[in-house]
């Protein structure tokens, strides 16, 4: 057997991330306890090389490994999101871990492994490969969620996330098995070929797609598979919560767009209606419960559920325009949420344990630290969808794509939901600007250099996408055309 022809250039971004992860992991036990931060720096350097590699692969739209690995613009776009998310998370974490006295170098390779898994997920339309990526990502995340080993909440988060995640994984595998059983292939295109044109859709194919929907629905925290999210988000270390809401969510949606938007949407009847129901339930439940949260991380967990509901609109609509709108939305959401969690992590790191995560902590913050207050306000406005922020543009293009296909009721519900959400986002802003802290105000640490860079980047990106969306939208649009 000769060597198969492997396009290593196409693989280079994910290979770089993977190798960096392995090497840094190997390095961790060799470094002394005091020098664990070296791993962090090596990690972001590796990621930036990977980002460069991604930029070199844009426009190639090639495949390798016999079509199992897709290097199209869709995967490059999402790989870019993942890598940036990972880098921003690392920048946020360096000081956070030091302040929490939890400087264990394994943290960074775990982020890298998760990133690698996401990149694999977004770079294939082969169910088995997607599943591989999904598991590499998930297992790393389970550990990361419980990384604050001495915190009860963190351990609890990890256990819950793991148990329910394993439960959901069962559904995913089962779904893949059913689909394979019916069609004899793992490839989405092959699956459509096998199933398309059949007058009677096979029951097992329907069950298979339903199971896949459940499995991925868990990963994006769609109602009613969302129950893990609040506990996991609240308990996980703050930078990881930001990472979880940005990267894995985008990865799961990338896979869903590949599988459902292109694949099953047209073959399985009523799948669209089901997505409609799930989208509406997800955005409504997320927003309504978020109204009553007093912990900012938990509130953003429900907000993250609500945003998943909005993005599910793209799967209801199912057009290429909707997919690219979803891609833009995910980019905007990832940057905004990462930015918000930078501030949250900074505030949180003021205390050794996690007592600084309630919304009351933010009382009067903007008066003492106007820049932090303004930054968090910007992110909250972006989450609520005010112009001229990225969040507004994401919503705008997504809703526009849905309206152009005639989904008026859905968009009316979505807009009403956004209105509800304004309340709890602005609550934080009001706390920061308009209320005086009673008693001793919380001591927020000074902004360390790396966090400053990351924060500036997030602020600039959120504004840039908000003011100048066209270029980004074009890129996201190109990426979807490549996927078809």
């Amino acid at each position: 057997m000769s060597f198969p022809n492997v396009d290593f250039a196409l693989l280079s971004p994910s290979l770089i991330v993977c190798i960096t992860a392995l090497l840094t992991m190997l390095l961790v036990p060799f470094l002394g306890e005091k020098r664990q931060v070296v791993v962090a720096h090596l990690s972001w350097i590796g990621l930036s090389i990977a980002l460069f590699a991604v930029s070199q692969q844009i426009g190639k739209n090639a495949t390798t490994f016999g079509g199992m690995f897709l290097g199209d613009d869709f995967s490059q776009f999402f790989s870019g999101i993942f890598i940036v998310a990972a880098m921003l998370t690392i920048f946020t974490s360096i000081d956070y871990l030091r302040r929490k006295e939890n400087e264990h170098g394994e943290y960074y390779p775990l982020i890298l492994f998760a990133t690698y898994g996401m990149m694999v997920m977004a770079s294939s339309s082969n169910l088995l490969v997607i599943f591989l990526g999904l598991e590499i990502m998930s297992v790393s995340l389970y550990v990361l969620a419980g990384f604050a080993r001495t915190e009860l909440k963190s351990t609890e988060a990890a256990i819950k996330y793991f148990l329910l995640g394993a439960f959901a994984t069962g559904f995913t595998v089962f779904g893949i098995a059913f689909v394979y059983g019916v069609t004899g292939t793992f490839d989405v295109a092959g699956i459509i070929n096998a199933a398309f044109g059949q007058s009677n859709v096979d029951t097992f194919l329907i069950i298979g797609s339903a199971l896949l929907l459940i499995g991925f629905g868990f990963k994006v925290a769609a109602v009613p598979f969302h129950m893990w999210a609040p506990d996991a988000y609240e308990g996980a270390p703050s930078p990881i919560t930001g990472f979880m809401s940005a990267g894995p969510k985008a990865a799961a949606f990338a896979a869903m767009l590949r599988i459902f938007s292109v694949g099953f949407g047209s073959t399985v009847p009523h799948l669209q209606t089901l997505f409609w129901i799930v989208a509406v339930a997800t955005m409504t439940v997320g927003n309504i419960i978020a109204l009553r949260q007093n912990n900012i991380k938990r509130m953003l967990a429900f907000s993250s559920i609500a945003h998943a509901g909005y993005i599910l609109i793209a799967l209801v609509v199912g057009t290429g325009e909707a997919s690219s709108a979803a891609a833009l939305y995910l980019l905007a959401y990832a940057l905004t949420n990462l930015g918000a969690f930078m501030v949250i992590a900074l505030v949180d790191s003021g205390a050794k344990h996690d007592e600084f995560t309630s919304i009351d902590t933010y009382t009067g913050l903007a008066r003492k630290r106007p820049f932090l207050g303004l930054a968090l306000t910007l992110f909250m406005l972006s989450l609520a969808g005010f112009p001229p922020t990225a969040g507004f543009m994401g919503k705008f293009v997504l809703f526009k794509a849905a309206v152009s296909q005639g989904f008026y009721v859905l968009i009316v519900i979505a807009v009403l939901n956004s209105l509800v959400s304004v309340f709890y986002y602005l609550r934080v802003v009001v706390k920061m600007f308009m209320t005086e802290p009673d008693g001793q105000p919380v001591e927020v640490p000074a902004v360390p250099v790396f966090l400053m860079v990351a924060l500036a980047f997030a602020v600039a990106a959120v504004l840039l996408i908000g003011v100048y969306p066209q270029g980004w939208f074009n890129f996201a649009g190109l990426s979807i055309l490549g996927a078809n």
Partner: protein, 643 residues
Amino acid sequence: MELIWLIPLVPLAGFLLNGLFGKSFSKPVINTIACGSVALSFLLSLNAFFGLLRLAPESRSFEYILFSWIPSGSLNADVGFLLDPLSAVMILVVSGVGLLIHVYSIGYMAHDEDYSRFFTYMNLFMASMLVLVLANNFVLMYVGWEGVGLCSYLLIGFWYEKRSATDAGKKAFIVNRIGDFGFALGIMLLFWTVGSVHFATVFNLAPQQLAYGGGIITAATLLLFLGAVGKSAQVPLYVWLPDAMEGPTPVSALIHAATMVTAGVYMVARCNVLYMLAPTTLLVVAVVGMFTAFYAATIGLFQNDIKRVLAYSTISQLGYMFVACGVAAFGAGIFHLMTHAFFKALLFLGAGSVIHAMSGEQDMRRMGGLKSKLPVTYTTMIIATLAISGIPLFSGFFSKDEILWQAFSSRFGSPLLWVVGLLTAGLTAFYMFRLIYLTFFGQRRYDDHAASHVHESPRVMTVPLIILAVLSVIGGYVGLPKALLGGAWFERFLHPVFAKGAEIGKLAEGAGESHATEYVLMLAAVAFVVLMIFTAKRYYLDRAKDSEQFEHGFGGLYKLVYNKYYIDELYDRVIVNPLVKGSNLLWQKFDVLIIDGFFNGAAWLAGQWAISMRKLQTGMVRSYAFVFLGGAIFVIGYLILSR
């Protein structure tokens, strides 16, 4: 010329720098950023202007699209800038006069605690104003329009500890809202009927798509004009401008005299094609302008606050500009806009210098005899006063004469307009010289305490005065009319912008009465003005003791004018009070009971829902998995059963 997008951006950068870090900057740094950015804008504007001059007159229109801003279906608004003779003149005036006033402010605001905040707002104003005049579409213009309104509000209420200042700020903002509402409606109507907000497109399509003098174009132009009436303080929305004098004097000079208030004139001139399509609107513009000019001049006659006199004078002069627009002499309007910017900025800055010297005193009855104490201020203010009065050889003469001549001779003009214009010019000369005599001549009427502080302003304030004085003299010669052996270069430069409108209005170039008529009218105007100056001299200098008696001699008329025709009281009684009462009633009955009830009810319902849903979130993995399973069964069941 490709750099025009930098012109508004540089002050914006200054705004950001000073706004974010101003608190920690030292004064020289703030000065450098604030004045430097405006200076850079001015240099870029000069560069753009000369770039434009190098082109052939008919191709002097240059658009630069920075990026596509709102691409939404048929509504396409770019962040795009338009450089043509009209906007070139505007950016030069705005950035040039703005620069001088910025420099002046260094001295004037030197002792203010909120130094950086002042310059932050000023730079934001410059950026907004430059966006307004450079925009290549209505939407971006509206952004600038609202931006300058915001800055005006912020700067009027700059000394926010003063109740009257914040009230004045609010008044300006609220009155302007009425105008802005009309402006926005006008834009929407145009977009709805013509299908674009891009200037060039609208002006190209409107003559083809809209009937000449039809209802739509008349409505649209009237709505746009409503915006202009608000921003440029015309009757009946002028009431905010006198109160706006509560702001620092450089603000009054920059925003409420030289630049922002002229935005309405600029907008009407920019839309000249539309206005030429609607002769009814033109008539309204001319009448409103003329009425405002005369009306404000009469109020100015007997005011005692130095800045209020200037404020009413500004309203009156803006009326002149609208008269010019109303008789389709847009070039003359812009010409007067430019010269007015010079001499009115100078008058305000001079008044500021006087106030500065008098330690904050603004009442002219407690001044007098300052001529020798403030020589530079005195000299420059005399020049400005001669200019605004329309004395030959000074800039105001040429521009005002052009307007009067056009009001008389234009196809859209009438001798009646000329007569009222002439009367107004006389009144202007009277109250301006009254101001000069009361302030600089006669006996000292202030106490010894104030006297010990009287001093000429520092160099940083007087140099801008001198430069503006020079401009107030020579600024008029760029538009020397043909009758006076000039070439009317200014209007020829602007002509490409107004050519299409002129074509629609069938205005033949160079036609009209002979030069002889022009000379006669000119002489009549000058003679009347001189007469009025001597009247002022007689009652306020020669027989200064009798001046009070002279004023009261007008009896009821004096009282009426002195109290500004009781318009503020009338507005209060007829509009504000019923509104307040009505809204109080609405608030108590409708808002509290129905609206609040509805929203509180909805919020309560959502809250209850949230509580009950939160109960599902038990924290037990078992119940999570159970919900998960239920969802799974639903999903699978739904898909299978609905197949």
